[in-house]
Amino acid sequence: MFDFIQNHILTLIIFIPVIGGLIILFLPERHNLIRWSSLIITLIPFTLSIMLYAGFDRSVSGFSYPGGLQFVERYSWIQAFNIELFLGVDGLSMPMALLCTMLCPLCVLASWGIDKGIKGYFFLFLLLETGMIGVFCALDFFLFFISWEVMLLPMYFLIGVWGGPDREYAAIKFYIYTLIGSLMMLLVIIYMYLSATPHTFDMTRLAQLGAGMEFKTLCWIVLFIGFAIKVPVFPFHTWLPDAHVEAPTAISVILAGVLLKMGTYGMLRVNYMMFPDVTFKMSMFIAVLGMINIIYGAFCAMAQKDLKRLVAYSSISHMGYVLLGMASLTEEGLNGAVLQMFNHGVVAAMLFLLVGVIYDRAHHRRIDGFGGIASVAPNYAVISFLAFFAALGLPGLNSFISEALVLLGAFQKYRIITAVSATGVIITAAYCLWTIQRIFLGKLNEKYAVFPDINAREFISLLPLGILVIVLGIYPHPILALMKPTVRFINNLITGSGI
Amino acid sequence: MEIITLQSFLIVSLILFLTGLYTIVSRKNIIGIYMGIELILNSSALNFASFSRFAGRGLEGQVFSIFIIVLAAAEAAVALALLLAVFKRQRGIDADKLNILKG
């Protein structure tokens, strides 16, 4: 039994959610039963991913099999096209998979209040989880694409059916943006498949594709745009605030915590590992985009009146650090970028959960509509302070380390860009503190004289994240150690190809 | 100059064909349009027959002509039946008045 689990651990992690979802569809329509069973179903992959974490060999690196990839499972799927169920993790995907499986049970907790179409909701949610983990673990490009697209459908419904007042617009906007990106990706994937001899979707083999530079650059740009829509990088970001604001709390958490990372993950996995030489040439371009994201996102966040919109724009800003770190092509920068992906996943999830808590009570999210909440809901305020301080990068909390690493790495290559980006830290501090001041401090808004403090369920959903924020802030080694060899490998690949 | 050549037959049938085309496009009356279709079919049959006559293309073309004529008759029968049904409903046979269904 244990051996079986050990040998098929990734398959299990990926497919247990969707199978569980199907089971839920056939359960009797009792709300608590469905909630509890979803929670249990999401806890299974989480447990398994802890096993994955424990068994992960931190010393190997490389993008090949046999070689740097671990827990590899490889089954033939469609023979005619050489499509395989080819799964495996390395230092890049391991933290992401961990983040994803960890956030899902918390999101189930955050969705406790859903009562309309509850079966459908949890089925779609679990389908979404399968898709997300699938993207991070897939080593077959076709599987990668399928998983990428499979998330569209549940997202569309989750935002569209269970979202806020403007949900129809937000849902279709999200769908169209992502579909544009993914169809462009599809064309490139097919092209790469056809240029490989023999035709293959195996990502490790496609990484060795020898092709003309012009063609590679074109592929790189198209793929980059496809991923950039998901991140979202500046000109393609407009779907994000709408989707975030309209989505139910748990879905915002997933969006910010996992989906955005899929964009940068895709860039690292595909653009960086498969086209290192093009990446080397394009790094400046990525750095500029990162800088724009940081500054633009921060300024937009500052101007927001809606708390959720503010957090959404802060995500754009924080993802800018990831881009900047990636562009630096130094080990510090890349480590910082990957760590920032994980950290932002934790912090953004926390922030959205907190927004959800306040929205459940006040039924609005206008920042100006509150005041002095700290005095009536002290526990809530403390956790919120923690989250906002983490977001602004207070030393001792997790984001500080990753942002510092990013800036440190990037400064070695792009002095001006990094200097400009660093001002983003100040703007971020400004809007975070200002938000804290407006909501939690100051004169108590009489309307909220009776403001129920955070309850046990909400507390449990926030607690693990809070602990991570503090622990990783002091001791980032558990995550850093996972990615270091792989990051070094990527960096050598790219800098090596550039010479 | 020889007049009774393949080319002269082709041009006669081309004229028939194009008149038919013109009739189909410009007419509003269903029967008028249908006459255009008949002209086109007639010109195709003529074409087949002329090709079959000249330059050793065999009699297969004439077989095709016969089939075109037969099919034209069958189509005419269906057209008449449908025409009666349409007429019954709207008391007129302008194709433009088939306007419950807009394009």
Partner: protein, 175 residues
């Protein structure tokens, strides 16, 4: 001398075929159009005689004039009061202009293509049989037997379908 008469007859038959076409296309009276069509069909039949396609000429007379045209006349008379006829065979001006331009362009391009194409003799320019009926019968009962049989099935289907479609109208009138 003989040849000249043949050519004159040919030209007049061509005119008999083509000239009524303009009536079909432009007349405002649908009955005139129908009668013009009658002449076109007769003219085509004459052209078949010139093509030595005797059987085809007879089929043309029998089926087209005896069948199709009669059906058309039926259609006209069943669906129109005679008074209306003069006004109703109208032409859409906008569409006729586009149609006219297309047709003219097509005419000139196809005209030159037809003249310039060689139409190479095939089968070593094999001689045309004297009297086609025998040969046609052989073809239809050997190589083209299947289409022949299928055509009969098609006619059966059309017969039944038309009966239902037309019968529906009749029945509704009775109701």
């Amino acid at each position: 001398m003989n040849i000249e008469i043949k050519e004159i007859v040919f030209i007049s038959i061509v005119l008999l075929t083509i000239a009524p076409c303009s009536v079909v296309a432009f007349s405002r009276n649908i009955l005139y159009s129908a009668f013009a069509l009658f002449f076109t069909f007769i003219g085509t039949s004459g052209l078949y005689f010139f093509l030595d396609a005797d059987f085809l000429a007879i089929v043309q007379l029998a089926v087209y004039i005896g069948g199709v045209l009669v059906l058309l006349l039926f259609a006209i008379l069943l669906t129109k009061n005679i008074d209306d006829i003069k006004k109703t065979n109208t032409i859409s001006l906008r569409r006729s202009i586009t149609a006219g331009i297309t047709v003219l362009v097509l005419f000139f391009s196809l005209f030159f293509v037809f003249l310039s194409t060689g139409w190479t003799p095939l089968n070593g320019g094999a001689a045309y049989p004297n009297g086609t009926i025998h040969e046609l019968g052989r073809l239809i009962l050997s190589k083209y037997l299947l289409p022949f049989e299928i055509a009969s099935l098609l006619l059966l289907a059309v017969l039944i379908g038309s009966l239902v479609l037309a019968g529906k109208t009749v029945r509704q009138r009775e109701d």
